[in-house]
Amino acid sequence: MSYLHTSCAFIILCAIAAGMIRILQGPTAADRMMAAQLFGTCGVAILLLLAKGLDTIVLLDIAMVFALFAALASITFVRRAWHEQTGASR
């Protein structure tokens, strides 16, 4: 168990908690979605750091799944939600 990696993961988790503010008060829908994407990216970083810090290789696969599915969420957003939301003052 490595102190450095775990505390880095903790700091990135705090960054996620701060990123929630953008979801809550993002003026447009795209801002909210981009904040969710930030969550995904930070999640990948945390998983990689924890994989190193806790010596569990399995976490690398989970990070891979995170990265693959982040694209899916944003593409669905672009296809299914965004063009309806343009002009809406959300």
Partner: protein, 237 residues
């Protein structure tokens, strides 16, 4: 701005909601007490799993529990997924796309690059399920993600998939699972009791088939209805 206007109203609680809130709070307190007073040391199924791990044919305890020790559950659960698709298909036709939009070049490139990677990763997860984390459900979910990626980009050929192929794919998992179970019934005399030494490869076969049908199931659930040609084709034949 909206937030502040609603903030002022928050103090006046509806009496019905207040009652609901009280009931929920008391339920929470009861459940919290149950959590605190439960004795977890006495009841353990993990020891039994660890004891019979060698017989199961796989190294990962979760996969062993899922497909061997509690195979009955998983069989029924695959059926539940099939029932969900049956429900969705009987409710409505696939409504999307309302007005198709051409996918942009970036999106096409993403789909082209990402889909094979996802399919590859799905089968990697299935294969890895025997030793580490992974298995039919995870692999199936990633496969479903790949299908959803293609569905959402509204590629032109996706509308022309004959529904019979879809049905075969959906049924593959439950069918292989049930077939294996019946084969075990004939060979060993017990439902889902895999023959000695064959357990590992049989489990891999079941897992692959189940992953394919779970992925297709998730894609069909996402598509939100039966394919367009489904009923007309059925009437002709």
């Amino acid at each position: 701005m909206r937030r502040y206007s609603t903030h002022n109203k928050r103090k006046r609680l509806n009496p019905v909601l207040l009652l609901v809130l009280l009931l929920t709070a008391s339920l929470t307190i009861l459940l919290g007490r149950a959590i605190l007073t439960t004795d977890y040391q006495t009841e353990r199924l993990g020891d039994d799993v660890a004891q019979f791990q060698k017989l199961s044919g796989v190294e990962s305890p979760v996969t062993a529990v899922l497909l061997n020790f509690r195979g009955y559950d998983t069989l029924l659960e695959v059926m539940v997924l099939l029932m969900a698709v049956v429900g969705v298909w009987s409710l409505t036709q696939a409504p999307f796309p309302g007005k198709p939009i051409e996918p942009g070049p970036v999106q096409l490139a993403v789909v082209r690059l990402l889909t094979p990677l996802m399919v590859l990763f799905a089968f990697y997860l299935v294969w890895k399920g025997s030793s580490l984390a992974g298995g039919a459900f995870q692999g199936g979910a990633v496969l479903g993600g790949a299908c959803v990626l293609m569905l959402v980009s509204e590629l032109p050929w996706i509308k022309n998939i004959p529904s019979r192929h879809l049905r075969i794919g959906l049924l593959a998992g439950p069918f292989v699972f049930l077939g294996t179970a019946i084969l075990c019934l004939i060979l060993e005399g017990t439902f889902l009791a895999y023959p000695q030494g064959w357990a590992g490869s049989l489990l891999l076969l079941i897992e692959t088939a189940c992953a394919v049908s779970i992925g297709l199931t998730l894609a069909c659930l996402f598509a939100g209805g039966r394919p367009k040609d489904d009923l007309s084709r059925g009437r002709k034949r």
